[in-house]
């Protein structure tokens, strides 16, 4: 039991390291740096010596491997660095932005799974009937309409027709004003959950339809157990591995979608933080946020791998 866990942990860390290297290198390939970004055209007024002094101060003059390892070293000591644009510690910026994104992610996943599993089960139990058609239609809609369109349309209609736009009051924390906070997060979460729900719905439908035709499903029906027991204990339980896998994949898309949706709904999460820091060439922030996205994705998918052994006894090793 312990050895696989260690192996899994090692592979997680290797993946994370790979992500770090790639992000670091790609950022350095972008034209310009923090100094030129903040000085703008004024950079041309400085003398060569002045520029070198500034570069040295920010550490951007060093070679790329040197920069990478000095950043890695300080990060291993818990120091994520200082934002080049706001001069605040990166850990402070992330500390205030991360809870917002976490809340958004959790709410979107819950909504997406509810929508997906709900319509998927209904569709699979009434294939090619109107219930199924409704679900299938929603799935095509959710998969084909991008989240920024759904988000923009939601905002436009609710704000202009119903004068409802909770985000206009400025973001409030979950613990400061829970009711307003939940309203503010609900719309972006709903926006994201369309795509997630559509994918999960299709997976659920296909898996349950297949399982319905298997021999053990017939055995279960032949026992005379209740419809609910048949549907959940025999059909759903066996579809759960497929559903969980799809949820993990969707979590990855969710992280990408959060960047756009947070921007549309002015949520101060790490998605927005990422966008502003990319425009500002604020490398310490970009690196750390990317690291968090990657870590989140890897952790969620590791948890999903572990969940397989809980669901399916055949994947357990003795």
């Amino acid at each position: 039991m312990l050895l696989p866990l260690v192996r899994r942990l090692a592979s997680m860390l290797t993946t994370l390291f790979g992500v770090l290297v790639v992000v670091f290198v790609i950022l350095r390939l972008l034209p310009g740096n923090a100094v030129t970004a903040s000085l703008g055209v004024n950079a041309g007024l400085l003398s060569h010596a002045q520029l070198q002094a500034i570069d040295k101060f920010y550490g951007v003059g060093e070679s790329i491997p040197q920069q990478f390892f000095s950043w890695l070293w300080s990060m291993l000591h818990g120091n994520l660095g200082v934002s080049l644009s706001s001069r605040e510690p990166v850990s402070t910026l992330i500390g205030s932005a991360l809870p917002v994104t976490l809340e958004l992610a959790v709410m979107s996943m819950i909504l997406g799974i509810l929508i997906g599993v709900g319509f998927g089960m209904i569709g699979a139990l009434h294939p090619d009937r109107w219930q199924d058609d409704v679900g299938q239609g929603l799935a095509v809609f959710g998969l084909s309409v991008p989240s920024f369109v759904i988000g923009t349309v939601l905002i436009t209609y609710l704000a202009s027709i119903f004068h409802y736009f909770p985000s206009s009051l400025g973001f409030v924390g979950l613990f400061t004003n829970p009711w307003l906070n939940l309203q503010q997060v609900f719309l972006p979460a709903l926006t994201l959950s369309f795509g997630i729900g559509a994918a999960i719905m299709r997976t659920t439908r296909a898996a349950v339809l297949e399982i319905r035709g298997l021999n053990f499903a017939r055995t279960a029906r032949g026992k005379g157990i209740s419809h609910l027991a048949y549907v959940w204990r025999h059909l759903f339980l066996n579809a759960l591995v497929a559903i969980t896998t799809m949820s993990g994949i969707q979590f990855g898309y969710l992280l990408g979608g959060a960047v756009i949706v947070e921007d549309i709904f002015v949520l101060p999460g790490i998605g927005r933080l990422l966008i502003t820091s990319i425009t500002d060439r604020d490398f310490p922030v970009v690196q750390s946020v990317t690291l968090i996205f990657a870590a989140g994705f890897i952790v969620v998918n590791t948890l999903i791998d572990i969940s397989y052994t809980l669901i399916d006894p055949r994947t357990r090793r003795r």
């Binding site: 053990f216 026992k223 399916d312």
Partner: protein
């Protein structure tokens, strides 16, 4: 004597697109309480579909009951509600399925799956556990406690087949439908299961519909044999009569293909030539005609109904005396 189960002109069809082709083509069959009936036929003859129809377990779509009645104590199950069917399934009628290896839920303990079946019919949990354990012991599993705690993939094919039989028997059904239930078992275990079923019958008057292609099992276990071919019953006879004097050339051919038979039908085929017809596209006339050595002109035009032939009924235009030597 009253009948327990009565199939009246049962037709099961396969839907493809807007067309339906009948695969089970008018099966009528009575089972009395405590009676043991064997159902014999090649693969594709409609045995399994007929049995699944009784519990309304056909994969629908594409399969559906198109015509006929399934009378259980006079109550027609073809028009019964799902609620009523749930009461019958696993309680009045229990079934052992073909292909036991895939017939258990892979994610649940074996013991739980038996208990679940009993609890669905108002047996409380402790009592259901006792019954499950007894049933597992009865089918000859040496360590029922261990089997209960196992998942299906941890058991061998023979063990699972016995679990399936135990699951069906635990509910003390009035009718047991067993679809090739002893195929994966070695001869000693097979004998043990047959003895168990015979035993249970003495004490409970359980009726048995035993689907098999093993005529040896038929000879030992059942009172009456129904032979199916191309979706119809072609012969229905008391077991001894069937072995002594088959009334349909197909039955005779089946008997002749038994290894080491001492019957007098050596002149017939040892191996039945040709292959069973596709039931969705049958020609006019008797479906066995292309493989029959005794076909006459009439066989090409009209399909014979079940005709009384002594103690048997057979779907053959020709009197047994005309072709038996």
């Amino acid at each position: 004597m009253t009948t327990l189960l009565s199939l009246r002109n049962l037709v099961v069809g396969l839907r493809h697109g807007h067309q339906t082709s009948p695969i089970v083509r008018g099966v009528s069959l009575d089972v009395k309480p405590g009676e043991r009936v064997g159902v014999v036929g090649e693969s594709g003859s409609g045995k399994t579909l007929t049995m699944l129809s009784v519990l309304r377990l056909l994969a629908s779509p594409p399969l559906d009951i198109l015509e006929g009645e399934i009378l259980l104590d006079g109550e027609d199950l073809t028009s019964a509600s799902e609620h009523r069917l749930r009461q019958v399934r696993g309680s009045t009628i229990a079934m052992v399925y073909q292909d036991p290896m895939t017939s258990l839920n892979p994610l649940l303990h074996v013991g739980y799956q038996i208990v679940e079946a009993l609890r669905a019919h108002d047996v409380d949990t402790p009592q259901a556990r006792d019954k499950a354990r007894d049933a597992l012991r009865q089918v000859g599993l040496a360590d029922p406690e261990r089997v209960e705690r196992s998942y299906p993939h941890e058991l061998s094919g023979g063990m699972i087949q016995r679990v399936m039989i135990a699951m069906a028997l635990a509910a003390s059904p009035r009718l047991l439908i067993a679809d090739e239930p002893t195929t994966a078992l070695d001869v000693t275990i097979q004998q043990q299961i047959l003895d168990l079923v015979l035993d249970l019958q003495d004490t409970t008057s359980m009726a048995v519909l035993w689907v098999t292609h093993d005529l040896g099992v038929v000879a030992r276990l059942v009172d009456r044999v129904v032979v199916m071919y191309a979706g119809r019953i072609v012969e229905d006879a008391p077991t001894s009569e069937l072995f002594r004097r088959p009334s349909h050339p197909y039955t005779a051919a089946l008997l002749a293909s038994l290894p080491g038979t001492q019957h007098t039908h050596r002149s017939l085929l040892h191996q039945i030539g040709g292959s069973p017809p596709d039931p969705t596209r049958l020609d006019r006339g008797c479906p066995f005609r292309p493989r029959c050595s005794f076909a006459v002109e009439q066989c090409a035009h009209d399909e014979p109904p079940l005709l009384v032939r002594g103690a048997s009924r057979a779907a053959c235009w020709r009197e047994p005396d005309q072709w038996q030597t």
